[in-house]
Amino acid sequence: MKFENESGIEIKSVYTPEDVTATGGDDGIGRPGQFPFTRGIHEQMYRKRPWTMRQYAGFGTPEETNERFHYLIDNGQTGLNVAFDLPTQMGLSSDDPMAEGEVGRVGMAVDTLEDFEIAFAGIDLDEITVSLTINGAAVTLIAMYFAMAEKRGYDLSKLRGTAQNDILKEFVGRGTWVFPVEPSIKLVGDTIIYCAENVPKYSPVSVCGYHIRESGASPAQEMAYAFLIAKAYIDHVLARGMSVDDFASRLSFNFDIYGNLFEQVAKFRAGRRLWAKIINDDYHAENPRSAWMRMIAGGGGGGLTIEQPENNIVRGAYYALISALSGTQTMALCSYDEAYTIPSEKAARVSLRTMQILIEEMGLCDTVDPLGGSYYVESLTNQMEEKIRAVMKDVDRGGGIVKSISEGYIQAAVSRQAYENVRKIERGEIRKVGVNCFQVEEETPDVEFHPFRDEDRDKQVRRLERVRSERDGTRAERALGKLLDTAKAGDNVMPAVIEAVKSYATVGEITSCLVEVYGRYKEPIRF
């Protein structure tokens, strides 16, 4: 029988030092905290501080979300990862006709700055770092976060936090795009430049391999596409006159984790090394931090099953183990109900406890990169690095990542693979416990969504109407006019968006202004 991992690397029965030599040697292993960072970006890693625990949370109104945030923090969570409802993610206000049936459903509804003030009430933004899962409407929501923090007296020059804000991957998977490709990249550039100049400790972009993998990519493709996307943002910002050390250290990554344990660990170690080399060789960075591949990893919704959902608790525990063995900075562990809903309170707590058990009981924080030096892991790390490079080269030969995404070729490639994977699972060639082997007769429990309540929508729309009628209308109008002019002129829109949110302009009003200038994205249908 032939053993092969998902990235197409053949696995041998046993590994020896010769295999490490044959795959490229051990020169690239190095030490943690030193270039090329194969073993981790910090010298002491979790001995100094365990990974940040940042479960995905948010639903209904800002009041309910605030309660959940406090619950998670009271249970030992060390960061927040905010889920927004689909209208907010698409830059629509809650009273937009397209928002019908969606307000507060898969995340928190946000219309104006007041919603952010409510959602983060009583949370110390120095103590708890906040990550915003927002892409198409990122400029508006990042602006709201800064405006809220400033209003509460925080110094923006010291404010930490993260926004997902990776629009290119939205065109491949996840789908919360608003504007066409080019202006979308320009807006990401605006946030990077604004942050570098004004909020230097904030991470404005978390480049996501995660959703591309969920859409059907192999682990090697996941890393390659994410690196190419990150490079596209870097190239854009460099072309606008910044130098790489001004901003590269604030870029971070979000990766998927399901699959073969050793392939995953090797993927992250290889990725860290390759990213460091790219930053040094292609961009000649001088600040060593610019070359750090900082990451969040712990999600793997595609690996979970609706059949025998308790098994997902076990899968989640292995994902957390993989993430810890891979030197992650942050974990957002997928909860056992993630195959069908946003996490329930209980599911979120089980995920939190899973990570806490690793930290407190399993010795995962005692030493750095415990798998380093394994002949198997080092050989595989060398081979994964080559695989990732090869995929990157292929895309570059095909005209580059922006063109490949704009024309739908990456989408077509990954969706074809997703189909092949489904067929392999149906034929039993890929084994999935509870799905095509070890099934049980008992009926699968019914899907339990987070309850959608019309009252929540009504409450949200009433607040939106009140804020709109109580705000200084002239100030809001002037701010939106200024935003329109700034966008038309091609200047950085961030200062104008911040002024607009401070004037209590709505998410929908700000999006409309930008659509007027940039237009809307039209999806190429290729699959």
Binding site: L92, A99, G101, G175, A418, E426, F527
Partner: protein, 131 residues
């Protein structure tokens, strides 16, 4: 002897951006020899009904994972009737709780293919139920 090929519209209504399943089903139906038109994301009920009419399809397949299937299907039902497409074979797939299946069938949905359904089940259903 030539038989008219079965034509299927696969549509993503509303704001939900999860399209892996819709594309998998579209490809499975194509492999089975059907003609498939995929709308892409974020289609309004009106756009879906218009596409179904213009493309003269036999089957309308909706994919919904956000939980909004009931309001979306209620709106679509009205639009399909307006366009006199109420007799088309209408199927819905995705993240759909069992307790909502009856309600969907009352709206005119012929079958609900929840997460976990095999592609063969969907292909056979379409083949056997297009008149």
């Amino acid at each position: 002897m030539t038989e008219k090929r079965i034509r299927v519209l696969i549509a993503k209504p509303g704001l939900d951006g999860h399209d892996v399943g819709a594309k998998v089903v579209a490809r499975a139906l194509m492999d089975a020899g059907f003609e498939v038109i995929y709308t892409g994301l974020k289609q309004s009920a009106e756009e879906i009904a218009r596409a179904a009419g213009q493309e003269d399809v036999d089957v309308i397949g909706l994919s919904v994972l956000s939980g909004s299937h009931l309001p979306l299907c209620r709106t679509l039902k009205g639009k399909l009737e307006e366009q006199e497409l109420g007799d088309k074979l209408w199927i819905v797939g995705g993240n759909i709780p069992r307790r909502d299946h009856d309600e969907l069938k009352k709206l005119g949905v012929a079958a609900v293919f929840a997460t976990g359904t095999t592609t063969e089940t969907i292909v056979s259903f379409v083949r056997e139920n297009v008149v």
